[in-house]
Symmetry: D2
Subunit: 483 residues, 4 copies
């Protein structure tokens, strides 16, 4: 396993083509806008080497018997599934941000079972080469960007119907040694901190969409790949050298548009190429793992937000007000409901043909559906407890200024002995999580990450087994006999 320094060095050695604010970014790893995001991923390395968290952060590889970072592990049982959620909650607590490494983990696990079942059904040979790839990832302790979401153009049309066929990433040519692909993947969380990008189709493909049913992995700096940084609310505060105003000065997340301009992929890294019948299964499995993930990571971030609200109530002198206490209880209740869903879908998992364990599909989707709702209410309650000062307080530069600073110090002091600065820092953290950079992760990603709300509802409808429930009702109503 890599140390944090090794991770940073390995990232710096990659030659990524990154665009931000209309410019090519040379050393993106150390760019102040991106660095907090690198730091968040770095904690997945740091905690893995911390004895206190070793049980959670590492696992024994099913492929080589070595200790590996759990973020590269294929789940071997219920315990692995549950530990994954707990690891994610821990990292959410430690970073108060999206730490970006789950999507690769979920991609690896989904591809593992699907390539195996595809081979069994179609006689293809993807599984062995995919396992080689997982070995490579584990042995080099790599960060993999699991890339699923295409830009999609007109949502009412299928890939082959789009006026520009590249609106879904596709195979443009097949060669002896590999394939050439073109297209883009949008909303790529953590793309700039990853060693590898592992592409999957974004939805169930029909036969006519055969060329869009493609999955593969390549190094992140493969020629033809271009990254465009996605703006976040308040992103440029990181450039101001006002760490207070940033709210969370150390950690963050980012999203990027990743463009594939005729990228060559050697066959040994191709995991699906035209097998459209398995595209739906791959999406369903990946989505289920990733919907499980949100029952861990967002809960950890929620812990920080709840803590920030409770701490602010102390600073405001309102901690004993019954209305404030009730709101904190409600935040905890909602947050733990998400956790319960994350744990439940893990503990009810089952093995797949490849030996890798899968979460409970229905409960994982129920988990994510709640994640599309509760963080918004938790955020609203945090803003309620925080008070209006969160969005009306002066900048750190004013606070530090010898002339105007003392007035701010005087007038924005709170209850008790804590310095005004602590109160302001805590409010900026809440702002960061509800309106700033981290709101992108805590709110929007909770809504759309791993599939928008309606995507979960489609799976819930399919998994609900309404026919069996109708039968139960008919028996009780005296219409049919019980069997």
């Amino acid at each position: 396993m890599k140390t944090v320094d090794e991770y940073l060095d390995s990232l710096r050695r990659l030659d990524l083509k990154v665009w931000m604010f209309g410019e090519r970014v040379a050393n993106h790893v150390d760019h102040p806008v991106i660095r907090p995001s690198v730091n968040a991923v770095a904690r997945t390395y740091e905690l893995a080497s911390d004895e206190r968290y070793a049980g959670l952060m590492t696992a024994c590889s099913s492929l080589n018997g070595e200790k590996v970072n759990r973020f590269t592990h294929l789940h071997q049982g219920l315990d692995d599934l549950v530990q994954k959620v707990k690891m994610q909650r821990l990292l959410g607590q430690k970073t108060a941000a999206c730490f970006q490494r789950c999507v690769g983990l979920d991609a690896l696990n989904a591809l593992d079972s699907v390539t195996c079942e595809m081979d069994q059904k179609l006689g293809t040979g993807y599984h062995a080469r995919f396992r080689d790839y997982v070995r490579h990832v584990q042995e080099n302790d790599l960060v993999v960007n699991g890339a699923m979401t295409d830009p999609k153009g007109d949502r009412g049309l299928r890939p082959h119907q789009q006026r520009d066929p590249d609106l879904y990433l596709r195979v443009v040519s097949r060669k002896a040694d590999g394939i050439v692909v073109r297209g883009a993947k949008a909303h790529q969380t953590g793309a700039l901190n990853s060693h590898e990008v592992c592409v999957m189709p974004t939805m169930t493909m029909s036969e006519a969409d055969r060329d869009w049913a493609v999955s593969f992995a390549v190094p992140a700096d493969t020629p033809g790949i271009v990254y465009v940084y996605g703006r976040q609310s308040g992103d440029t505060r990181k450039l101001e050298q006002s760490p207070m105003d940033v709210g969370n000065a150390l950690y963050g997340g980012h999203e990027a548009l990743v463009i594939f301009e005729d990228v060559f992929v050697p066959w040994e890294r191709v995991f699906m190429c035209g097998e459209w019948e398995f595209s739906g299964l791959l999406v369903e499995r990946f989505a289920a793992y990733h919907r499980q993930s949100y029952g861990g990571c967002k809960v950890g971030v929620g812990d920080v937000l709840i803590g920030a609200a409770a701490q602010t109530a102390d600073y405001n002198g309102t901690a004993r007000a019954s209305a404030v206490r009730e709101k904190l209880v409600e935040m905890v209740h909602l947050n733990e409901t998400l956790y319960a869903c994350g744990i439940a879908c893990s503990s009810q998992g089952h093995p797949t043909a490849s030996g890798t364990w899968m979460v409970d599909l229905l409960l994982a989707n129920v988990c994510k559906q709640n994640v599309t709702r509760f963080p918004y209410e938790i955020a609203r309650l945090a803003e309620d407890i925080a008070g209006g000062l969160m969005v009306t307080m002066p900048s750190e530069k004013d606070f530090r200024h010898p002339e105007i600073g003392p007035y701010i110090e005087k007038y924005l002091q709170g209850a008790g002995v804590a310095p005004t600065e602590h109160r302001l820092r805590m409010l900026r953290l809440i702002e960061n999580l509800t309106l700033g950079c981290a709101a992108v992760g805590y709110r929007t990603e909770s809504l759309h990450g791993a599939g928008s709300p309606q995507a979960q509802r489609v799976v819930i409808a399919r998994q609900a087994d309404l026919e069996a429930k109708k039968k139960l009702a008919r028996v009780i109503a005296g219409i049919e006999a019980e069997e």
Copy 2:
């Protein structure tokens, strides 16, 4: 284990003093108002002898190694905790009612660990005699009424402050061979179907409330015990010989006020007598188990209600309307969220000193808190899908009448080939669950059973560890260093 007939015979042999509608009820087991409730309990016996459900419904006793009904079992691990919830969901599905046997199960498990820890701390000798009692229950496959809730009089006063000391059940005298108790237990679910009543204190007692800190078990027909049936909405429809109008003709639940008029309890059945310091722990443990239970039983009833709504949509010809489909998805989503909480608090349990396993306290309370909300919304959605006919349709007697019946047959027909009667039956089932007898179980019991909403919030507040969360926030905000 008893067969259903043996269960019924054993109940008939008990000489209970039961009052209902202003009269002493002679053969209460066969009284048409009570019988559906007996039938619901009977299914816990029937399914235990059904091979298809043996794994769920039975367990290997930790006390004698015999196969016992799981409703009498002391949980020996996480699997037992999870299986309990699944058993409860199954029975909810099979009865669409409260099947009343959980409260005894939860009382036995709570008392097991608390008597053990009390003995360890105080040097008392309750645990061995309690284990004898559990053996008795297991060997005779008994139904135990776990009796916790006192009438409480003025909620703002403690037991010893009430103007009538009997408003909380208490020890009135201690004798060589036992104790004499007086008081009452209210809202006793399934009291009339139980062989035994096992009493526990209703809340944390202070030293001044020492005489009220009492726990014991006696046969249900012990002299001095009187039962008064609690009325339910629509209870007397069961007397009309109109099974359609009842909605659920076979199954139901009931509650009773149980009065203890100077009842003698021999020492070998006394499990707490004055140890007020342990009253709170006993309440907490019992409540936690019982709050877990609701993540199973109410989910099973919810399955039937969802099925009834979906079936009614078929009868109404609205099943394909997107608004109806979305409502069904929402019902399933809410119901499965409850299940996720039931599963999660079980899978995160831990062993206690006695070897019996305990659920996760925080998650069990989160589970029940959701149960105080979601069944109400599920019921509202069911009523929405059902349509107004649910509360405006004529009686079965009108439907069967040769003169007016044909008009009802003609005008209340629905879509498709199902006879009008099926549609009416299904609507009566929904009425039963949302407004009728079963609404007492599905709505009010979901709200108040195992503790009213505020009771869970108190535990959630205590278990939230806000200090740790504040610390997380201070670290992220740059106020404190990480440890």
Copy 3:
């Protein structure tokens, strides 16, 4: 205007064919199951002659300049629209039930403008004869049952597509002196207390449904009309002579299935006959008035339920608990939000071609949409404050029994000096409103009366003017110039 006695006498003189519980009911006005419903309507007469309420309960007729009961009045301005809502809130407070006379009021007002506009457009002569009818209603102070909802059979089919054409009420023959109609109207609130029945089509008819586009009025005892009482949860408690158990011993509501078996209607009482193009407008207008109504009547019932919850908190000794106080505030907040919607749609009304005033269509639908939600939450909160005793307490017959009664008196006493009986009475009132007869009015009718939730959403969608809103957004986004 009639006195209460005159109203009762006039009802008794009607020869209605009423079926209930499989029997023809001879003197239905004095039948204990129906009488509370008659009493509720009677209050609309009583309060009209009470000086304290004269301004609210009466109006000056636009037709003859006489003082008339407001329930027969054609709205002549914004003030009339607002007063209507306040009158309805008052009656809800005085009866805690549906007082059943609004539907006729709303039918008269809707038909007034539609017959006028229909005549203007099509050259028909309905308006003058309709005005004659309104004069008749006003001068005789009649209760009119506004009958709109057909049984509908398969909801996915139009009237002329149903396998039985009578599933929507229709004209079966046209004669020189009138028409003959056949069919039924379901969910007819207050049908048994009405002097007249005024029929309207239930939805927008297409040209092929021409024979189903029919509106007329006839006396309630016109030959061929048959009434079948709709069962309510707990209806037969009214037969037990246990007024406590009824909860609301004096008032109630009822619904009936009204069958029209080849009923003859003279032309002077026909207000639409084949003009399918105006069926949609009539439904829209009637529905809007009736959706406004719910912003008054249900608020009044809500006031009683809030009062009952607050009073129970006093009896329970929990009135000062902050959680209880917050719940009461929430109940008030939700209830007043409904009232605000009722007032707003009234105060934003406008005149129609006939001079009768119409409510704001969008806001009236918004009003009713909220009514499909908030009473359910208010009821849940009431049940929360009430506690479980509401559904577990013994019958009045037990309470009155010399042997068991004293135990109930002793053990179910609450805080303070109020007798136990008061506490039990108040809990039975809450049961009545949340699970019993009145729940049909407060819950189900709130959901489905004046159209089920989706019906309002269709109107809201149509009235939302999304195109104008998109334009606003495009201007702000810099895509288009402002006009």
Copy 4:
């Protein structure tokens, strides 16, 4: 009335001491961060001179009979109260931001009746001098910053108990010609665009807080007043010359901390000085007017957000999906419910002793309570419809760059013929309203402006008249006779 240019000139002539980002801002009116906020206020001048809006935007002064901007008008009847709400909705639609002039309007109206009643009760002479001030405001068409909220320090302590007495603004000395005040007002919306600041106490003062019971008005550039700009999420995007990225390039709002460092106020501008008994009434009246306001302005902003979501659905090709349509209906429903509350509390107003009309207190608080909830849900639904691209799309500088721009143009195109730029602009507008500068106005201000949620609940509790409601319930329950 002033033209827009006259307004801008008059602002530029003020010599405000403004701090922002650690610097004194020289020409703050033209500073790119503040200018959008000035523009929003300017529209209150522009629309007043637009014939299409004259009825809404202007009124006939009750003081001098001249036509005045409605933002300076004392309400003379129900129509004025209703027109105010409609004017606010219009301006919300035209600016998609807080236009900042309501707080002064509400302060003037509240002070008008309170100074009148104070004079009547205490024999003071404030009302005449206050009316002079209103005349000054009307004749010069001034923007008044109504300044109420003090920093408050420890919320658990009263003003005189704070360790620093200046944490609530107070009188530090009384002189022959006036008073000297010290303290600060926080969260001052629109402070930098105002000609005047009108100070009021922030809460009910006790006798010991007499020196803090002070109200007055002074020109915004009075010596001793210092302004510190409050940072907003994404504020510095306005400095980037990337209008697309700003989302709403023309309009915005701002908040400031306003410090009063021993400011002299002549007696003719003092409206309360020590009359602590009237502090509570002033707060209640101001708050009620301001809570009414939110039923107008936030509804107008909501219209833009709904329009933006609907337009985005068109661009995304999802407008016909039933789930999307239902979400738009829900947004409209919630938004119109807020409007209904704004209209209702206006239409139920009443005259005060001074002749100025007051809104209905209970309904105004109900209005604001809903505003603390629904905009958050509307925002969540907008984010849902928008999709993740809202927070992952590249900067305008990337979009405009000749090398990377074409890729963005290609891959982020949507459905139909609209250029990619339109789609991106619309998404940036949604970002602005949900996460950016305007979210401060649309979310946080909705929560805390005019009082945090708990403040409304206190008034609702006081206005609920629970005793009358209990009485209603006792009558229905048969406990008491009706009066």
